[in-house]
């Protein structure tokens, strides 16, 4: 009950000096606010990057690639074995493999009715929407039969439809030109990706069956073998078995399951963004520390100003502990209030960053709780000295203080 009374009287004395309290809290507000905002944007960015890298195809399929391709600094594909139809047959013969497909792509220019648009031509199986994260909203997706018959049918994304036909729902049934050949548009696709990056840069894609693609770009080398496994099989185990077979065939430790590679990248991204967040967070903590010194300073001033009050309280029966707690609670109320305001402002900044600046942000309750507790700790650390000074005052000198 005494604690409650002391909280109330701490509030009263902070309200009595509104401007001073606010200015004192400013350091804490800035420190906590920037920590919250930075951590939110940092974590949000990390999630967005990981979501973009983390190809959903990987949850559906295992992708086998030559290690050299993943190494990054590939200047020439000479010497890197490309997959042949025989390899595809080998893969299909592996126990547990249901489908084998590849998804080569190529940059090109598409024309229709005198209009031209640069596009990425993406080949794939009939279940490509699952892998490339789109849905056909007009017309239809190509079917296995289209693939088997090498038919010249394509599905275009809404942004391609818009630039060629003026509307993102137009185009089905139209003929378009690619490499001087005519293709029929059979569907319009809409992205289903939730990644913030795909919303920022809508893709200009043309989807077609892999067989058609190989006819259109005959020289294309295929460095990817994608497998779907029979339900019940572990795709990584199936892939490992196939890799062993392929390595034996090509005489070397050549192939790799891309899933492991991507997991590695995801880890790196997490580490890097973690480091950045830590560094910037440390800088914000300095602001918090400086804010804490401000709190200590103002508490010392307050103790001096209220020397008479302390004397009166002692004469009325306040013990030294009570006086100590009174000033300590005042410091804690000051910093936690600053912390709460900082959390609210940081939250607001993060929300603005994601709506106006299109920066993804993610506010965690852990960061909010952490900053709240940290600001309380700053209050205790910076309040303890002024409070103990107040509690050690001699009542007679305090009462006589002018």
């Amino acid at each position: 009950m005494l604690a409650w009374e002391m909280c109330k009287s701490a509030f009263d004395s902070l309200v009595a000096n509104k401007l001073r309290s606010l200015l004192t809290m400013l350091g804490i507000i800035v420190g906590v606010g920037s920590i919250i905002a930075i951590v939110a944007v940092g974590q949000g960015g990390q999630q967005a990057i990981i979501a973009a890298i983390d190809n959903p195809a990987l949850s559906e399929a295992a992708i086998i690639v030559p290690k050299a391709i993943l190494a990054g600094n590939v200047t020439s594909t000479a010497g890197i074995p490309a997959f042949s139809p025989a390899d595809t047959a080998l893969a299909l013969a592996t126990p547990g493999v249901q489908d084998v497909y590849s998804t080569p792509s190529q940059s090109d220019v598409i024309t229709a009715g005198g209009k031209t648009t640069p596009v990425t031509v993406q080949a794939g199986p009939s279940f490509l929407p699952l892998i490339a994260q789109f849905e056909v909203v007009q017309g239809r997706m190509f079917l296995p039969i289209d693939s088997a018959a090498h038919r010249r049918v394509i599905v275009i994304t809404q942004s391609v439809a818009k630039s060629l036909f003026g509307s993102d729902s137009a185009g089905v049934g139209q003929l378009v030109g690619l490499e001087g050949q005519l293709f029929e548009v059979i569907g319009v696709a809409k992205s289903t990706s939730t990644s913030i990056l795909s919303a920022l840069a809508p893709s200009l894609n043309v989807y077609m069956p892999t067989t058609t693609f190989m006819d259109l770009y005959p020289g294309t080398q295929n460095f990817e073998l994608e497998l779907r496994v029979v339900p019940g099989y572990d795709k990584n185990q199936v892939a490992a078995r196939l890799i062993a077979v392929l390595d034996a065939k090509y005489h070397g430790d050549i192939f790799e399951n891309a899933a492991g590679f991507i997991a590695g990248i995801t880890n790196t991204v997490t580490t890097v963004t973690g480091i950045i967040t830590t560094i910037v967070g440390a800088i914000a903590s300095i602001a918090l520390g400086v804010g804490g010194i401000g709190v200590m300073n103002i508490m010392l001033v307050s103790v001096t100003e209220r020397t008479r009050e302390i004397g009166i309280r002692i004469s009325l029966g306040a013990s030294r502990t009570t006086i100590l707690w009174q000033f300590l609670i005042e410091a804690i109320v000051l910093t936690t209030l600053g912390g709460l305001i900082g959390i609210a402002i940081g939250w607001l900044i993060a929300a603005l960053a994601s709506t106006i600046g299109h920066l993804p942000s993610l506010i965690s309750w852990q960061a909010a709780l952490g900053s709240f507790l940290f600001s309380a700790l700053v209050g205790i650390l910076c309040g303890i000295y002024p409070a103990s000074r107040a509690s050690r005052l001699n009542p007679i000198d305090a009462l006589r203080y002018e």
Partner: protein, 227 residues
């Protein structure tokens, strides 16, 4: 109840020891109304601070209710000030940011009384001192006499057996002074021991026993027959 034996108090200023009180022997029984009378600088306030456990004597023994005060822990002394002694000062010493009611409640807060009890008792006390209509005024909205009434109500909040008043009328006009002194007389009539400090013979006349202090010594100590 109050028993001072061979009390001395001195301050060191530079290298010099200045004696403020010397060999003060004093007994005050429960229910008495004592005036400490003496010229300015004679050591009255110093003596009151010792009686009120705000200060410790340099030498000598002070027994309060039979217990040696110097043997008490700081927390026990705080409790004595809270429950056994009520202070009234010349300059009122109200807390400026609190209403009259909150000021009167404060000693009860330190005594851990419940809020409801505090409220009720503080109102009753303010009513007794004639300030029922001023409970939510702050000190700067009250006259000197009203402030001193609030201070008296606050001093009596925990029903202490002893009331120490240091020049309670020093900042008031003669008519208001009279009212305040009557109030103190009433409190004494209710059984509270009162020690009133003054330099004014006329004010000392309200007490039933006058102790004259001069240069830190008790000069005379006599009962006053009420006229």
């Amino acid at each position: 109840m109050i028993e001072l034996t061979g009390i001395a108090k001195s301050y060191r200023i530079g290298t010099e020891e200045v004696a403020v009180l010397q060999d003060v022997n004093l007994r005050v029984a429960a229910g008495e109304f004592v005036a400490l009378l003496g010229p300015s600088g004679s050591g009255k306030t110093t003596l009151m601070n010792i009686i009120g456990c705000l200060d410790a004597p340099t030498t000598g023994a002070y027994r309060l209710d039979g217990r040696e005060v110097s043997a008490l822990s700081p927390d026990q002394i705080a409790k004595v000030r809270n429950l056994k002694i009520g202070f009234v000062f010349q300059n009122f010493y109200l807390l400026p940011r609190m209403t009259a009611l909150r000021n009167v409640e404060l000693p009860m807060v330190y005594a851990s009384r419940s809020r409801a009890i505090r409220r009720e008792r503080a109102r009753a006390l303010l009513e007794q001192v004639g300030l029922a209509d001023r409970v939510s005024h702050r000190p700067n909205e009250l006259s000197g006499g009203q402030k001193q009434r609030v201070a008296i109500a606050r001093a009596m909040a925990n029903e202490p057996p002893i009331l120490l008043a240091d020049e309670p009328t020093g900042s008031l006009d003669s008519q208001t002074s009279q009212q305040i002194l009557r109030l103190i007389q009433e409190i004494n009539a209710g059984g509270t021991t009162v020690v009133l400090i003054t330099h004014d013979e006329a004010i000392a006349a309200y007490a039933r026993r006058v102790i004259r202090i001069r240069d830190g010594r008790v000069e005379s100590d006599r009962e006053v027959v009420p006229c």
